[in-house]
Amino acid sequence: MNVVHHNAAGSGFLSPTGVEITFVLVGLVVLGAALVTVTTRQLVHAALWLVVALGGIAVEYLLLTAEFIAWVQVLIYVGSVVVLLLFGLMLTKAPIGRSPDADSENRWVALGVALAAAGTLVWVVADAFRSTWIDVHPANGPGATAVTGSSLFRFWVLPFEALSVLLLAALVGAIVLSRRRPEGRDR
C-alpha cells in the first residue's frame, strides 16, 4: 500500500468534512431508529430497531476515533444486552404482529421524561467539557485501546475495582431473583 503522499490533512476516503457529514447522517439514522423503537407497537421489532440505534451509536464512536468503545458497544449492547432483552420479551408473550397492550397510554408523560433526561444529559456533557479540547486523532488519541488501558489502570483503579463489586452484586441479585423457590409454586 503506497500512501506516502498522504498527510494528516489530506484526503482518504473520508476527508475530515466527510467524517463530519457521516457523523451527522448516522446521528439522524440513530435518532430515527430510536423514535421507531419507542413508537412501534410490535415488541420484537422495537428490540430490533434498538439494535439499529445502538449499532449507529457504535459507528458514531468509531467516527470519533474511540475505536475500543465502539467495539465494546457492539459486543455488549448489540451482542448481549439486546439478546437479553429479546430473551426477556420471549419470556413474556411477544406475539408476531401488534401487541395491543404495548401502549400504556402514558405517552405524554414518557415524552416529558425523555425530554428532561435528554436535556439533563446534554447540559451535563456540555458543561463538563465546555472548554476541554479533545484531540480526536486516532494515533494514540484517547480512543485507542492502549491509551484507554493505561489511563484506566493508572488513574481509575478504584472505580474499576468497585465495578467488580457492582457486577458481583448484580450477579448475586439475578441468581437470587431467578432461583426456583424450594417449596410452593405448585398450582
Partner: protein
C-alpha cells in the same frame, strides 16, 4: 467527569511514551509509521471495513434478486402453513421460554462486561510502570467475578436439571 489537569498532563506524557513504541503499528519489517499517516489510515481502514459491509449487503441482495429471476412462485395454502412434522400446527407458534435462558444471558452480560476490561489491560499491563501491581489489580477484579461464578455454581444455576 472532568479530567483533572494533572491527570490530563500525565495522560499526555503517557501518550508520548506510547507513541514512541506503539505496539500495533509495527509491521514485521520494523518500520515505524508516522502519526499523520495513522490518522488517515484509521479512517481509510474503517471506510474499507464499512465498504465490505456494503459489498456484503449487495452480495446478499444480488443473490436474492438472482434467485427471484430463477425460482418459481407457486404459493399454496399447505406450503404457507407452519411446519410441524407434517401435521397441522397446534396452537400458536409461540412457546414460553425457560427462565434459565434468561439467567444464562444475564450471566453472560455481566461476565462480558468483565472480559471487556481485560482487553485494554492486556495491552498495557506488561509495559513499564505497570507490571505486578496492575496484574494484582486485575486478579482482584477477576477474583470478585470468580466468586460470583462459584456462587452461581453452588446455587445450581449452572445445572440444567
Amino acid at each position: 467527569m472532568r479530567l483533572g489537569a494533572d491527570s490530563g498532563q500525565a495522560l499526555d506524557s503517557l501518550r508520548k511514551q506510547l507513541s514512541k513504541d506503539p505496539p500495533g503499528s509495527l509491521d514485521t519489517a520494523g518500520q515505524r509509521v508516522s502519526e499523520g499517516r495513522r490518522d488517515v489510515d484509521y479512517f481509510h481502514g474503517y471506510s474499507v471495513v464499512g465498504l465490505v459491509a456494503v459489498v456484503g449487503v449487495l452480495f446478499v441482495a444480488a443473490a436474492l434478486a438472482g434467485g427471484r429471476l430463477l425460482r418459481p412462485v407457486v404459493p399454496t395454502q399447505e406450503k404457507m402453513l407452519t411446519y410441524e412434522c407434517g401435521v397441522d400446527p397446534v396452537g400458536e407458534g409461540w412457546a414460553q421460554t425457560q427462565i434459565r435462558y434468561y439467567v444464562y444471558s444475564y450471566l453472560y452480560v455481566i461476565f462480558a462486561v468483565d472480559a471487556v476490561f481485560l482487553f485494554p489491560w492486556a495491552t498495557v499491563f506488561a509495559a513499564a510502570g505497570f507490571g505486578g501491581t496492575t496484574l494484582a489489580e486485575m486478579f482482584v477484579f477477576l477474583g470478585f467475578l470468580a466468586v460470583g461464578l462459584l456462587y452461581a455454581w453452588k446455587k445450581d444455576v449452572l445445572q440444567w436439571t
